[in-house]
Symmetry: C2
Subunit: 335 residues, 2 copies
Amino acid sequence: MSTLNTDIAIIGAGPSGLFCAFQAGMLGMKSVIIDALAAPGGQCHALYPDKPIYDIPSQPEITGQALIDALLLQNQPFAPNYLLGQQVTMVEGDAGNFRLKTSLGQEITAKAIIISVGSGLFMPNRPPLAEIELYEGRSVFYHVSDKQKFNDATIAIAGGGDSAIDWAVALGPQAKKIYVIHRRDKFRAMEHSLQKMMALVAAGKIELITPYQLHSLNGENGLLREVVLTDLDNNKRTLEAQYLLAFFGLKTELGPLETWGLESHKNHLAVAAHNMMTSKAGIFAIGDISTYPGKLKLILTGFAEGALACHNAYNFVFPNKALHFEYSTTKGLKS
Amino acid sequence: MSTLNTDIAIIGAGPSGLFCAFQAGMLGMKSVIIDALAAPGGQCHALYPDKPIYDIPSQPEITGQALIDALLLQNQPFAPNYLLGQQVTMVEGDAGNFRLKTSLGQEITAKAIIISVGSGLFMPNRPPLAEIELYEGRSVFYHVSDKQKFNDATIAIAGGGDSAIDWAVALGPQAKKIYVIHRRDKFRAMEHSLQKMMALVAAGKIELITPYQLHSLNGENGLLREVVLTDLDNNKRTLEAQYLLAFFGLKTELGPLETWGLESHKNHLAVAAHNMMTSKAGIFAIGDISTYPGKLKLILTGFAEGALACHNAYNFVFPNKALHFEYSTTKGLKS
């Protein structure tokens, strides 16, 4: 796979990242846009494609997907390179000469980087148990990708929300026994799902263990043997179980970005308000991932931040050329 | 005329001001929008209604007028009060309790003010002549509103561009004599207009006085008698003339805003980047009129500034209520 040489590497294909490619094009800069999802659009595409958005200026009502489609159409004159279904796994070098690599092995050189990864990566909340990482991927899971693995198994499911209940119901018929562990007596789940669970409780497939919390894990070589619980009075109870499925919700994380050495503030990248640059020269951050005094997490704010980042990234792409500000209506689409 | 009581008084109905009214509405605040022009839209409506704009996010190509129409439609759910064809002539009071008056006598109370007057007022460049203000409006004009006034008159027209040539040609037939004074020998005007002027020169109606500049005015009680010129070697020449029409282009000015005591920087209002507030509490400025480090004069930037100003103006409108940030897609149009 040959290296892609570009001016601006935009990480994240949500609305801010997409419009950023347009702005780059208006200033005569080439761009690539990298996104972990298989399609562009970020949350607009993945989480609310059909929900109306009301506060895009000049669009009284537009769905998430229609917004993305319009932004893709607007980008066409500049034909940015979309690298989808891959994450940036490596960044090296400095302003004017960055080298990036993606999880599909694509290598990229870029003169500036603009990060627009929205809320970052959605990651499961992990229970704070000693040495839990030794079991993760073998006996402890935060989501289910292969149901067959759980045939005739004894499973501890921890959590009191929809995910915990839904998976207890889904795996109940095929498992040998399922324990549902929750720190309260009441569950926060759809009534319909709760009724199905109670039917499996009545049939002896599911046992509810409440109010209990996870305390520790016992096992060898990543294979779980026992899950130890405590009640509110700190009395211990031990369950034999081969698997623990923990459903404590999702949090957002910077993910691999954490290792780039960029200054962050409460899981956001700190940027200078006057140019959107992070603590590393030539790396900018826009949209929901960036923070500065007065920041509003609105899509329309991300658009303006992208324009500002591009006007400042220009200095790294064309270090010897002054940027002459022009209106699009005067200049048209070609620079 | 009864006083209008509102939350936010928005001064200027260009794209930034219009979208600002939408943002105010989203936050449950009432607004009025005041503009000197008879129709909303500012420069988009008055200067380039048919020119395509390419950099409105999600609008690959939209004309100035279509953008304004879309913003007006987007405002409809909140029905802001449009006060057109009038200027704000007076502002008194403080944050939470401003009183405004317009040139049509409309009185307004508002808890916060957002200024979005674009480039400000377009004003003629005045030649730097001693006591010229004594003649303005009687013998010295920067635009022509009543042609009849110049019947059989001797007129000095100063300037070398389209306005000077066009008015020399237009008034030539009816005037007794026209002097066209320009500091260069060459004129910057349409070839077609120049040919018409040269025909009137040949007919003895127009005399070209080049390269000469204005030096001083002689006359009494606002009535002009002589215009004194100098050439490049500082030799003087005196012309008898009843009128001076000076066409030295337009500049933009803050106009009455200058007297409000707001901190300004090179004809722009200085605001804090984190909230868009001017040097006076409760008065905000957005769009082309405002300046702060990193400012880009883009329409899309004005939109984001309007959202930021409204989120901060909220504190003056509802001083005892915390603002809970919500996405439009979650909340809908009613607060």
